[in-house]
Structures are given as structure tokens and as C-alpha cells.
């Protein structure tokens, strides 16, 4: 049906979007002994796949994204994006942090436009494309506002707009909605799915919210306590398009969430 299914069946010959091979990450610890955050991690992401990674805090899920984005060099093993080993930020990778990380002195328009500028788009293209994104993200009327004049949810929509303006092939999202209240979080999840349905880019979405992971992703990977290893790699076969609110009472959804809970070795609250 889509690229992901064929890729996961090994039919295509194109390399996976992201391949993590025997990845080790350790940091110098407090008493000189290195702290191992990730150990021997193997993971693949097919083109167009939406992967969610959940795990206890400190399990190295954010660290993994930093390595894939080229911000952090691995201690061992390697990460390949489009078959090329990552040694510096690879092209067409968009990052989104939990904190909105907007330019606080720049307007909504300028904050989104900078993504297109860094993608090398011409002034004419930027002038046409940014208003489209502002409309798409329902930010019309706020073009000239500064970030501090916006709500948390709106700021994250601006950050998403900047990411879209950069036109990445791979989205790396580090708990992008983690700081939002649950209602806004649900709305933002729906926005993200709308974006993803339109563009079908590859996504690695780190979260500690199990329901969010199951609602959004094609596949949920559960990492263990430090050093992080894969405890569960669970395909989410729920039909799309998905409606988070409608999904939440269904037995299928509950069963998937329980499976993730069990892998996390935590009792549901």
C-alpha cells in the first residue's frame, strides 16, 4: 500500500532512511567512570515511516536523535542516513525540540521564513511559501507577532512551520509536544498527522507518552533503562487516518498501549 510496507518486506533496494548500527554512546561520568547511555543499538527506519520511540527518562532516546542529526558523535558504531554515515548534520533533516527554540526577536513570519532561507529558497519562493504554511498551520493573523505574544501551542506550530519550510525528508522530533497541556497536545498530534499525511516524510518521534506514540506512529520502539536497548519493536496496524479521540476507548488501542506499558515494565496508573 505504501513505501513503508514494501520496504519492511525487503522488496525495495533503496537503503533505509535511517540505519543505526551497533551504536554506543557514553559520557564521562562524575567519578571518572564513563556512563553508558546506549549500547549496541540497532534500528532501521524505512522511508516514509513514522517511528515513535518511548522509554524511561534518561534511557538515551534524546541522545539518539542528537546522533542521527549529527549534533553528537557516537562513541561506537555508526548511524547512516540515506546510506551515508553521519559525521555532521546531514542534509534535509529537520529537528524539533520540546522547547520551541524560536528566535525570540523575530516575528512568526520571519521565524518560519528562516527555514526556507536555510533550505536555499529564493526570496520569491519564500514570499509565496511562508503565507501558505501560515494558513496551513492556522496562524493567519499572527504573522507579525513575536513568540512571547503567543501561547505554547502556537509557538510549537511556528516551530513546526519552520521545520516544514526547511522541507526536510526526515523529521527528528524530541518530545515536541511534551511541554503542552494534554488538550493542546492532542490538537498538535492531529496537526502533525495532517502534515505527515500530506508529505509522507520519515519521522522519528521521541516521547514518554505511550498513548501519543500509539496514536501517531506506524511502529513503536521501547527502550530499556540505561544503557538503552530495544525492549519491544511493535508495529501499530491501526487504520489511518486516525482520530486520537475516537481511538482512545477502542480495545485494539488499549491492547497496543498495554503491550507498550508491559515492555516499559511499569504498571499503568
Amino acid at each position: 500500500m505504501d513505501g513503508f510496507e514494501r520496504a519492511s518486506q525487503g522488496v525495495t533496494l533503496t537503503p533505509p532512511k535511517v540505519a543505526v548500527r551497533g551504536l554506543d554512546i557514553s559520557f564521562p561520568g562524575q567519578e571518572g567512570a564513563p556512563v553508558t547511555v546506549l549500547e549496541g543499538l540497532d534500528l532501521e527506519l524505512a522511508a516514509g515511516e513514522f517511528l515513535a520511540i518511548v522509554g524511561p527518562s534518561g534511557c538515551g532516546k534524546s541522545t539518539l536523535l542528537r546522533v542521527v542529526s549529527g549534533l553528537l558523535a557516537p562513541s561506537g558504531g555508526q548511524v547512516l542516513v540515506d546510506g551515508v554515515a553521519v559525521t555532521a548534520p546531514p542534509p534535509q533533516v529537520g529537528f524539533m525540540f520540546q522547547r520551541d527554540t524560536l528566535l525570540p526577536w523575530a516575528s512568526v513570519f520571519d521565524n518560519i521564513a528562516v527555514g526556507a532561507e536555510l533550505a536555499g529558497r529564493s526570496k520569491a519562493v519564500i514570499a509565496r511559501r511562508v503565507p501558505e504554511l501560515i494558513a496551513f498551520l492556522r496562524l493567519t493573523g499572527f504573522e507579525r507577532n513575536l513568540p512571547h505574544q503567543l501561547s505554547g501551542g502556537m509557538r510549537q506550530r511556528v516551530a513546526l512551520g519552520r521545520l516544514l519550510a526547511y522541507e526536510p525528508e526526515l523529521y527528528l522530533m524530541d518530545e515536541p509536544f511534551g511541554a503542552l497541556d494534554s488538550q493542546t497536545k492532542t490538537v498538535m498530534g492531529r496537526e502533525l498527522l495532517r502534515v505527515w499525511a500530506t508529505h509522507r516524510r520519515s519521522v522519528i518521534f521521541v516521547t514518554h507518552d505511550i498513548e501519543e506514540a500509539v496514536t501517531l506512529a506506524d511502529r513503536v520502539v521501547v527502550l530499556s533503562q540505561r544503557p538503552g536497548r530495544i525492549r519491544l519493536d511493535l508495529p501499530i496496524t491501526l487504520p489511518r487516518p486516525r482520530d486520537g479521540r475516537a481511538l482512545r476507548g477502542t480495545p485494539e488501542f488499549g491492547a497496543l498501549c498495554s503491550e507498550v506499558w508491559a515492555a516499559l515494565d511499569l504498571a499503568p496508573a
Binding site: G70, P89, T101, P147
Partner: protein, 262 residues
């Protein structure tokens, strides 16, 4: 005329109310000062606003007021501008070359703590009795403020924001121009805020030690003649200059630092 158009009513805007209250405070201070004479305090000690106003008027008519004031403003202004031009790049270098900064830090802070007043005689010897020595006095007084402020400002830069631009493969120059420099604008303005007063102190101290014009020179000469009114006239003029400078910095702050004060 409707009630809302009347000035200084209860419905006056906060800005108008503030201005009114400031004028009232000003009038109270002037009135209290003036009445000291009526209470029997000899004007030889504290002069009086009326005497100062008279002196200002005669100095202005003779052209001396502008001559002295413009001299001091030029010295302080050039010193401030030079300190900005030199201090900001040094502050950026301090943040960029962390090890070199650690090496130099005790020395820099030692120089910073040195009372610049004590340098004035040396500066007169080095740079002469004219304008340049006072510019250097103002410069040396303000320089460290810009260096340390810019350095501190760069320490507070959001690492995630810089990392985000790195993931978008922004070049170093792009990050400097579009992230780091705008980030430290409020710190530069804070430096200016301190610099206005400090540069005047530097220039005036230089003038007190040795000069042929300027408000510091005028104050020094008046004091030599036990002319209290002359001393106060110089002080009041300096204060007015500093207040105008502060207002200009406040306007800059309003315009460029709004994003920091939501």
C-alpha cells in the same frame, strides 16, 4: 470639551500620569532647595535654584554654557563610542576563546577593579591636556562594562537554539549574524545604560585634573573661587546631559529589547 480630553484627570493615560508625577516631584525638590535660603541657610553653602537659573542664563548668553557642555559631551560620547567599538568584539572573543579568557581573566578583572580616577594623571601625561586624554578616560571607564556585559550575554545564549540552526546546516557566520548578535543586543543596551553615566564620570574626572574647557573644568574653577553657584550650575548641567542620555538609551531599549520583557 469632553472630560476625557482634559489633561491630568483620573482618566489620564498612565504615561501622562507618570509625567505629571515626575514634574510634581521635580517642583517639590526645587521648592525645598529654594526655601533653604528663606530658612536662613547661607547660599554660599547650597546656592539656590534661582541663582543657578540666573547663572545658566548668563552662561548661555555668553556662549560659555554650550562651549563647556559640548566639550564634555564630545569627550564622553567619543569615549563611549570607542568603548563600544572595542569592548563588544573583545567580549565576543572572550566567549569564543574560553581558555584564553580563563588565562586572562584575573588580569582583566584586576584592571576592571582599578579606580580609573587614579589613572587620570597618567592619562594627562600620556595623551596631553586636550580632548584626547578625556576621551581615553571615558573609554577606559566604560570599556570593561561592554566587555563583561557582552561576555555574560553570550553565556546565556540558548544552546538548543544554536543546535537547531546547526541541524539546518547553517554556517557559522549565519549563526553569528542571525542568532548570537541579536541575542546580545539587550546586553549591549544595558552596557550603554551604565556607559552614559560612567563615560561622563571619566570625562569630568579628566577635566578636574587638567583641562582648559568642559563642565569639569568649570566646576573645578568655580570651586577654586568659592563660587558654589558655579559648582552647582556645572553639576545641574551634567545631570541634565545624563538624563537626556538615559532617555535615549531607554528609547533604544524599548525599540530593540521588547522581546526580552514580555
Amino acid at each position: 470639551m469632553s472630560a476625557s480630553a482634559l489633561p491630568f484627570t483620573l482618566s489620564a493615560s498612565p504615561a501622562a500620569r507618570l509625567l505629571r508625577d515626575r514634574l510634581i516631584l521635580f517642583a517639590i525638590v526645587i521648592g525645598a532647595w529654594e526655601s533653604l535660603g528663606l530658612l536662613g541657610v547661607d547660599p554660599i553653602w547650597v546656592s539656590a535654584p534661582s541663582l543657578i537659573a540666573e547663572r545658566l542664563w548668563s552662561l548661555a548668553l555668553a556662549g560659555d554654557l554650550w562651549r563647556h557642555a559640548s566639550r564634555t559631551i564630545t569627550e564622553a560620547g567619543l569615549g563611549l563610542a570607542l568603548a563600544f567599538a572595542v569592548g563588544v568584539p573583545i567580549g565576543i572573543a572572550m566567549a569564543t576563546y574560553k581558555y584564553a579568557n580563563s588565562v586572562a581573566e584575573p588580569l582583566v578583572l584586576g584592571l576592571y577593579s582599578l579606580p580609573r580616577v587614579a589613572l587620570a594623571p597618567l592619562f594627562i601625561i600620556w595623551f596631553g591636556i586636550d580632548l584626547f586624554s578625556k576621551v581615553m578616560m571615558a573609554f577606559s571607564t566604560v570599556l570593561f562594562v561592554f566587555m563583561l556585559n557582552v561576555h555574560e550575554g553570550l553565556k546565556t545564549v540558548d544552546r538548543d537554539l544554536v543546535d537547531l540552526f546547526r541541524t539546518m546546516r547553517a554556517r557559522r557566520g549565519f549563526i553569528t549574524r542571525r542568532v548570537l548578535l541579536p541575542w546580545i543586543v539587550p546586553w549591549m543596551i544595558a552596557g550603554l545604560r551604565l556607559g552614559v553615566g560612567l563615560s561622563l564620570i571619566g570625562a569630568v574626572v579628566g577635566e578636574l585634573i587638567g583641562a582648559s574647557a568642559g563642565l569639569g573644568w568649570y566646576i573645578e574653577r568655580s570651586a577654586g573661587h568659592l563660587d558654589t553657584t558655579g559648582v552647582f550650575t556645572g553639576l545641574v548641567t551634567l545631570m541634565a546631559i545624563a538624563m537626556v542620555g538615559n532617555a535615549a538609551v531607554a528609547a533604544l531599549d524599548q525599540r530593540f529589547s521588547g522581546w526580552r520583557n514580555p
